[in-house]
């Protein structure tokens, strides 16, 4: 009898286990907590009406999303909970997507279907993908968005660094659309390196590139002294001479005036692309070309002269324009740059003549370290897939990852550690040490974490493709001239080119022929506040004419005919009406200058001679919709009426340059 009693009691208890487990489950506990939290709030009734008890689930079959996070995170959509800071009840910050569109794990990772805190957030035996730390969350945007987004600066920076620091020279990264990420840096060819610099410089540079230039993107390979000695020996012996590089400066030349050299450097706007470290240690200048702080220690004067004469002889694809300097100008600049030296850099470098054995060993090292992945080197082929492919690095299974002792066992930590100190994973590894700030490491990690399986398997309808790179090439003589002057380094045309200077795709509809011709010969400034300006390339009259004709003929917008409105002869009443609109209704003087005595706006281009520069239809259409004429322009669209736009156009077209008899 008592046995029967015990058994039935046990059975009852056994039967109670399941409901009890359910009753005491974590999520019920959180839901009760939430109800207690909202009970005393003013908007309790609304919140209670929104609340749904029990397990909640967002199910999006085509995305593979089964997310039960909202079971505990009950207040995500409640805007009135902005003051609540305890998790899991916080309101979700404003983002461009909704929970119902994408669920939670698309962005945050973790195990969506789990209903316990541990299983949902951390990696378990059955699930290795933990919650993504907040600092990398922008990587999730990158799974669908291939183009830069305004709200994801970290991801954008990471993607830029991947191409700018040359990661993709060695690591292949295939994007889901089938394209391969291309590097944007341009490591110099080493085929004629002996013309350019000395073996001692190569040795010191290899030992520590950042000691030569703090902004150098070349990584440190942590070479031993003998290895650096042998590589420098090989590179010098492997180099072939190039005609012109060793030509000395003309004899009987006066010692160039250093101040004149500095002014020529300034007038030529070298600083738009090249930086120099000043006495305070700040790097001042652009980052398109290499830093020139110690260039005199590196470049041989003969080579520097030849390079300045025409850089395209040494490097046909260089971003540096061909300036067409005169001989005295070349001497000035060569001597000015040659004086930028640092005796400390080569102070302790003493190399004996190279032996054949050292040269052979150097060649072996150059092959082993994959130098040819970035640089062209005589007799060494660019290796294919030199380093592991990173196409799906963001979903790399943790079982394939070797963690260092004491490291958090999570993919982001592994990737960041690998970028920060590659050799900490083994002294024999070839990956070099990059000089990156902590924020840059995080940005790179973010960009790499975006390369997930999910990014590759997404329905194409969901992906937001990047702008396809354009390989636009202008034709004929003008095309050759534009390459020679490296216009695309700063200007974009038809999707190809830089963003330092205005897009020229529709330049032919925008400007008047005489103005363009004069500007190419001698570029004046349109925006006085800018420090980066169009340099003077000293081009011949024929070349200027050739370029002008090409630009005026080819770069025209289909939106209007540039001759559809007259360049002058507007009725005085309309001009006066335009003046009124300019100064009162539209207050254009806050950004522009028409009358230098009164106006002070320094944001937009100066308009004192705009009537001699721009065509009337361009001004009219620009006023109607600036972004349609030049996407990304910061001039606000004023939703101007046709009449106002016409009056303003009339007023602006009367602002002629003085040679044609200005109004004032």
């Amino acid at each position: 009898m008592s046995a029967f009693g015990t058994v039935s009691l046990l059975l009852l208890i056994a039967l109670a286990i399941a409901p009890a487990k359910n009753h005491f489950s974590e999520w019920r506990h959180y839901q009760k907590q939430y109800l207690a939290l909202i009970r005393d709030r003013g908007e309790a009734v609304t919140l209670q009406r929104h609340f749904r008890g029990g397990i909640q689930q967002i199910w999006l079959p085509q995305l593979g999303v089964v997310d039960r996070c909202t079971t505990c995170h009950v207040g995500l959509k409640e805007a009135s909970l902005a003051d609540v800071t305890t998790q899991p009840f916080r309101q979700h910050p404003v983002i461009p997507h909704t929970l119902d569109q994408f669920g939670c794990v698309m962005c945050h990772r973790g195990q969506g279907p789990a209903t316990t805190v541990e299983e949902a957030h951390r990696s378990t035996l059955a699930w290795e993908q933990p919650i993504l730390p907040a600092k990398y969350v922008q990587s999730s945007c990158g799974q669908c968005h291939r183009a830069p987004l305004t709200g994801t600066p970290q991801l954008n920076l990471g993607r830029t660094l991947l191409t700018r620091y040359g990661c993709v020279h060695c690591h292949t990264i295939k994007l889901p659309d089938g394209s391969v990420i291309q590097p944007t840096d341009d490591p110099p060819s080493l085929e004629h390196i002996a013309d350019k610099t000395t073996r001692e410089w190569i040795y010191a540079w290899l030992k520590d590139p950042q000691a030569y230039a703090v902004t150098a993107t070349m990584p440190n390979f942590k070479l031993s002294d003998p290895d650096a000695r042998d590589i420098s020996a090989f590179l010098i012996s492997d180099s072939t001479p190039l005609a012109g590089d060793t030509e000395p400066a003309p004899k009987n030349e006066k010692t160039p005036d250093p101040t004149a050299g500095a002014s020529l450097y300034g007038e030529s706007f070298c600083a738009s692309c090249h930086a120099v470290q000043n006495a305070a240690g700040n790097v001042v200048g652009g980052d398109i070309g290499p830093e020139l702080t110690r260039v005199g220690t590196k470049a041989k004067p003969e080579w520097l002269r030849a390079w300045l004469r025409n850089p395209r002889v040494y490097d046909s694809g260089t971003a540096m324009p061909h300036y067409r300097f005169t001989d005295p100008q070349l001497s000035l600049l060569t001597s000015f740059l040659g004086n930028k030296t640092d005796s400390d850099f080569l102070a302790n470098v003493h190399l004996d003549a190279a032996t054949p054995g050292q040269i052979a060993h150097g060649k072996l090292l150059v092959t082993e370290y994959g130098c040819a992945s970035c640089h062209e080197i005589n007799g060494i082929k660019k290796p294919d897939n030199f380093a592991p492919e990173l196409t799906r690095i963001g979903s790399k299974p943790l079982t394939q990852v070797i963690f260092l002792p004491g490291m958090t066992h999570a993919l982001p930590d592994y990737i960041a550690a690998k970028i920060r100190q590659p050799r900490s994973f083994g002294a024999a590894l070839k990956m070099p040490q990059f000089s990156l700030a902590p924020a840059q490491v995080d940005a790179l990690t973010t960009a790499l974490l975006a390369l997930t399986d999910r990014a590759h398997d997404l329905p194409t309808a969901l992906t937001v493709p990047a702008k396809q790179p354009s390989n636009y090439q202008p034709a004929g003589e003008a095309g050759k001239l534009m390459d020679d002057m490296a216009c695309f380094t700063c200007h974009a045309i038809n999707g190809r080119g830089g963003d330092l200077a205005p897009d020229l795709t529709w330049e032919g509809s925008s400007v008047q022929r005489e103005w363009l011709l004069a500007f190419l010969k001698n570029p004046g400034t349109l925006r006085p506040a800018l420090i980066r300006r169009m340099p003077r390339f000293n081009i011949s009259d024929d070349d200027a004419k050739e370029l002008t004709d090409y630009i005026m003929t080819v770069y025209q917008t289909p939106a209007f005919d540039r001759d559809s409105m007259p360049t002058s002869g507007y009725p005085a009443t309309q001009v006066e009406q335009g003046r009124q609109l300019f100064y009162s209704k539209y207050a254009c003087q806050s950004c522009h200058i028409v009358d230098t005595k009164v106006d002070k706006g320094y944001i937009g281009p100066t308009l004192t001679q705009v009537g001699s520069r721009l065509t009337a239809p361009w001004i009219y259409h620009w006023l109607k919709d600036p972004q349609a004429m030049r996407p990304g322009s910061i001039e606000p669209n004023r939703n101007m009426s046709d009449e106002d736009a016409r009056a303003l156009t009339a007023f602006l077209m009367m602002q002629k340059s003085s040679s044609k008899g200005a109004k004032k």
């Binding site: 404003v94 709200g151 600066p153 506040a529 606000p636």
Partner: protein, 243 residues
């Protein structure tokens, strides 16, 4: 039965006492040098995306009574949940400074960080440093500010971007100017951004942006302005009837 209670009670006591004891055994060696004042050297009032490392390290300095820098004195950093420091404590260097990289928490907002040290008399000395974490929305606002607004609304000039502030007859309000901007409702801010100064009887030098920026972008801009305002902005929120 009595025995059981006693054991339980003893076990409880042990648990409580171990829980209360502070672990001091493995702590860092006690500092031998002390200063009396903590000052901020650099790194305060920075902005960064939530969860990211701030661009510049936070550097604090310990001075003695005479205002001389004290090296080798201990500084410890602390902050709200989610904030981390690298390193979180350490001795000051030869110039009396300690530099730390700060990782912001995952929620947008203002983060008050504290640097601690002790005087020789074991009196705690604290220094408050404020940093701002931008969430997605505020980050969009920050970028838009940089592109469209800062040239006039920010009086600071750099070689790369010359400010137009000084050239304007009617001075724009800097976005940090909480005294003025906190009094304006979101509706007013939306109106003035979208329709220009004249919408609120203010200067026409402020152009309308509703045909250039989208509604979401204007909202993002306002979220950003609210976050960086000084003194801080407190949303009045919807007022509900009390129960």
């Amino acid at each position: 039965m009595n025995n059981h209670w006693r054991t339980l009670f003893l076990a409880f006591l042990v648990l409580v006492s171990t829980g209360c004891t502070r672990k001091t055994g493995a702590a860092a060696p006690q500092p031998t040098v002390f200063g009396s004042v903590l000052v901020e050297s650099s790194g305060g009032k920075q902005m960064g995306a939530t969860g990211t490392v701030l661009a510049q390290p936070v550097v604090v300095q310990i001075n003695d009574d005479q205002g001389n820098a004290v090296s080798n004195a201990l500084v410890e950093f602390s902050g709200p949940a989610g904030v981390s420091f690298d390193p979180s404590s350490g001795p000051t260097d030869s110039s009396g400074q300690l530099s730390t990289n700060v990782t912001l928490g995952s929620m947008a907002g203002r983060y008050q960080l504290t640097a601690h040290t002790f005087t020789k008399a074991q009196k705690p000395v604290e220094l408050k440093i404020e940093e701002i974490a931008l969430g997605y929305q505020q980050m969009v606002g920050y970028q838009l500010d940089n592109k469209y607004c800062a040239r006039c609304h920010n009086s600071e000039s750099s070689a790369e971007r010359v400010s137009n502030y000084d050239n304007l007859e009617v001075k724009p309000h800097p976005f940090t100017e909480g005294d003025t901007l906190n009094k304006m409702s979101d509706v007013d801010l939306t109106a003035i951004i979208g329709h220009g100064g004249p919408a609120l009887n203010k200067s026409a030098l402020m152009p309308p942006y509703s045909y250039t920026l989208s509604k979401t972008e204007i909202e993002a801009l306002i979220a950003y302005i609210r976050l960086i305002s000084d003194p801080p902005y407190h949303a009045s929120g919807t007022v509900y009837a009390k129960k």
